[in-house]
């Protein structure tokens, strides 16, 4: 398994690489959503020294298509690992221009079944980033039924939603004040909070707790999942480094560790970042029984 790290900034790469990061994910400036962005020039330079995956995962508009085509052509001349896409225009251009670029299907919340993985695999898309809202069992079943190489986020704040609207700016405009910072916390009756931030592409909401997928990592390693993603942003760099060190140990020892040793390692990460396991062990529902508290609240 390879570890793909999303750093806060590019200066952190050497340190993460020393501790076990195999590759890094960056967004291309003005073309990504919720990734640290760098320019084409920076990608060209960094790709000479580091293994890079580049996210072009925003919703593209007509007026951006010509530029997108030039960008993809240029990226295909760099030694990058591949391009993460959300919008089908990226796939369409790569196919039409027959560009030599590995593609990663990254429709954030839609990579949820093996049939669609197979559909995109047949279109030449070799990799897919599994949605954060499915269970470990579902991920492992996908793995059994597709040749697509799967990437699973195992650490960091999960993305919840993305809007074209500038929701924070709009709020402050309404109350006639200036926004004071880049990242806000939203809380409601629900004990869980959300993080909200704006970028050139609109507004992104993250869940308020970082996902700790250490327990899951053991299963993913045993089942031969090819890539794990660690999102180090919004955390102190030291925590990211410690987590990566622990994950490096897991990668080396998972097949020989005893149950007690595994539990001990898992507990170390819980002490660092808590034990939120996202949807790995929790299935969502979609048909609501009459009288359910959420139904009452919203209808």
């Amino acid at each position: 398994m390879k570890y793909l790290v999303i750093p806060e900034e590019k200066i952190e790469l050497e340190r993460y690489q020393e501790k076990g990061a195999d590759s890094f994910i960056f967004g291309l400036e003005n073309y990504s959503v919720n990734y640290p962005e760098i320019s084409l020039k920076e990608i060209e330079e960094l790709s000479k020294k580091h293994s890079l995956w580049i996210a072009l995962n925003k919703n593209i508009r007509n007026e951006e298509l010509d530029n997108l085509e030039m960008i993809l052509e240029e990226l295909s001349s760099f030694p990058i690992e591949g391009v993460l896409f959300y919008d089908l225009s990226v796939l369409s251009i790569v196919q039409r221009k027959k560009l030599s670029l590995s593609l990663v299907w990254h429709q954030t919340h839609m990579v949820t079944n093996y049939q669609t993985c197979n559909y995109y695999f047949d279109k030449g898309v070799s990799y897919g980033i599994v949605s954060n809202e499915i269970t470990l069992e579902e991920i492992l079943e996908m793995k059994k039924h597709t040749k697509m190489k799967l990437m699973v986020q195992v650490f960091g704040y999960p993305v919840v939603s993305h809007s074209r609207r500038n929701l924070v700016t709009n709020y402050f405009k309404d109350i006639k004040k200036e926004s004071e910072k880049d990242l806000y916390t939203l809380t409601e009756k629900n004990p869980d909070s959300l993080l909200i931030k704006e970028s050139h592409a609109g507004t992104t909401i993250l869940f308020g707790k970082p996902m700790n997928g250490t327990r899951v990592l053991y299963d993913l390693l045993e089942q031969g999942i090819e890539y794990a993603i660690l999102d180090m942003r919004n955390l102190k760099e030291e925590i990211g480094i410690q987590i990566l060190e622990i994950y490096q140990t897991i990668r080396k020892t998972f097949s020989t560790s005893s149950r007690e040793e595994k539990e001990q390692i898992i507990n170390q990460t819980v002490e660092l970042v808590g034990d939120y396991t996202n949807f790995f062990y929790k299935k969502t529902i979609y048909k609501v029984k009459r009288g359910d508290s959420n139904e009452k609240r919203n209808n």
Partner: protein
């Protein structure tokens, strides 16, 4: 013959479907018991789907089936059998977002169309071309686009384009929101959306005003002519869980605007009247959002927003006795003698009158109508059709949109 723009309505059940088609929709979109993004609407069984298709086809109209969930592994089993049964029931088109079923539908169901759902958030012409290449017949565009962008897509691709024109909006790109999953454990991309975007949150800023992100509703009545002229194929109304009255009112108004355009009788005054009627049935403020401008704070709701409960709908017509000139109605909201009301009919007529006397089923005079579902009778000189609806008269001076 000129191919006219389609007016497409939601229909949450058979009753709503009939109202929608009678009041002017050219086609309806429905959800079955599986694979639809409104898992908690009543939805249609296969038998009801067949009845729906028979009803629509007799009127020369169409029925589209939403199969636009984002599939999980567990949803895959049985999907092809389900699609086959729906096709055999007479479904004219399948609305999909997960692309793996497109080819199956095109290869196995002769004549059935595939429409790509707005859930796929198609925002540019290259993506439209991609769908065209996949054999898709129509693309329902994302709701974040401007009229010039839509026009360019139609010109450059030649693909049938469908757009939303009326109803509630999502705050986030369709398909790019799982707020419901995270805060209520309900899967938004499989029909369980709990509308978390309408909750009010505390924000960690110095101001203590609640943070909300809900958007105003959409109302594009002013732009129907423009949509026809740029070549939009279908105009979609949102709201599979809306009431009969809402559907009848909204569809009736858009039907009249569309027909008036083609008959070259669409005047500003006529449009204003239809907008007044539409504004009476709305329970939230409306906007044109990205169609006309970069959406900003004026397109959203903040604390203090009002969702108005509408008491305009007074009764539905059950029968009309031509000899006695008496209309039989089923009551919905309070009314009494002296009130100015109007009956609007599926065929587009509006008959205004003042309530004179109200009778019960035995023709005994009543002081008022105050029992919903009660069968009542009124004297009315003009014949009205079954399923016509009676509402408080929409007066121009009272209801500025």
């Amino acid at each position: 013959m000129e191919k006219r723009i389609e007016l497409l309505s939601p229909a949450g059940d058979l009753g709503r479907l009939k109202i929608a088609l009678l009041y002017g929709a050219d086609a309806v979109y429905i959800g079955g018991q599986e694979y639809s993004l409104r898992a908690n609407a009543t939805n249609f069984s296969l038998e009801e789907m067949k009845e729906a298709c028979d009803f629509a086809h007799k009127l020369g109209k169409k029925v589209y089936l939403t199969t636009n969930i984002v599939f999980h592994n567990e949803d895959l089993e049985g999907v092809y059998d389900y699609l086959k049964s729906a096709y055999e029931a007479g479904i004219d088109a399948f609305i999909v977002s997960d692309p793996f079923i497109i080819r199956y539908i095109k290869e196995h169901f002769k004549g059935a169309e595939v429409h790509v759902s707005t859930q796929a958030s198609t925002t540019n012409l290259e993506a439209v071309r991609y769908w065209k290449q996949e054999g898709v017949d129509r693309v329902v565009l994302a709701r974040e686009l401007s009229i010039p962008e839509i026009s360019e897509m139609i010109k450059e691709t030649g693909v049938d384009i469908e757009i939303f024109i009326h109803g509630a909006m999502c705050t986030f790109y369709s398909g790019r929101c799982t707020l419901s999953n995270y805060l209520t454990n309900r899967d938004s991309n499989r029909g369980g959306c709990s509308q978390v975007c309408r909750f009010a949150f505390d924000i960690d800023s110095e101001d203590d005003k609640k943070f909300t992100m809900a958007t105003k509703d959409l109302n594009m009545a002013d732009y129907i002519s423009q949509f026809i002229e740029i070549g939009v194929r279908s105009l979609k109304v949102e709201g599979r869980m809306r009431s009969h009255y809402y559907l009848a009112t909204v569809l009736s108004s858009y039907r009249k605007i569309i027909d008036a355009y083609y008959e070259e009788t669409l005047t500003e005054e006529f449009l204003k009247r239809q907008k007044q009627i539409l504004s009476r049935v709305a329970n939230r403020e409306t906007s044109t959002h990205y169609f006309t401008h970069e959406a900003d704070h004026t397109d959203q709701y903040y604390t203090g927003r009002q969702e108005l409960s509408n008491q305009d709908f007074l009764a539905v017509v059950i029968d009309y006795d031509k000899e006695q000139r008496i209309v039989t109605i089923s009551e919905r909201n309070y009314f009494e003698p002296g009130m100015e009301v109007e009956i609007f009919t599926p065929s587009g007529k509006t008959i205004a009158f003042t309530i004179d006397k109200i009778y019960n089923e035995n023709m005994e005079e009543l002081e008022k109508a105050c029992h919903p579902e009660e069968i009542l009778k009124l004297k009315l000189s003009e014949e009205v059709e079954k399923d016509s609806m009676m509402r408080i008269k929409v007066k121009e001076e009272l209801y500025e949109p």
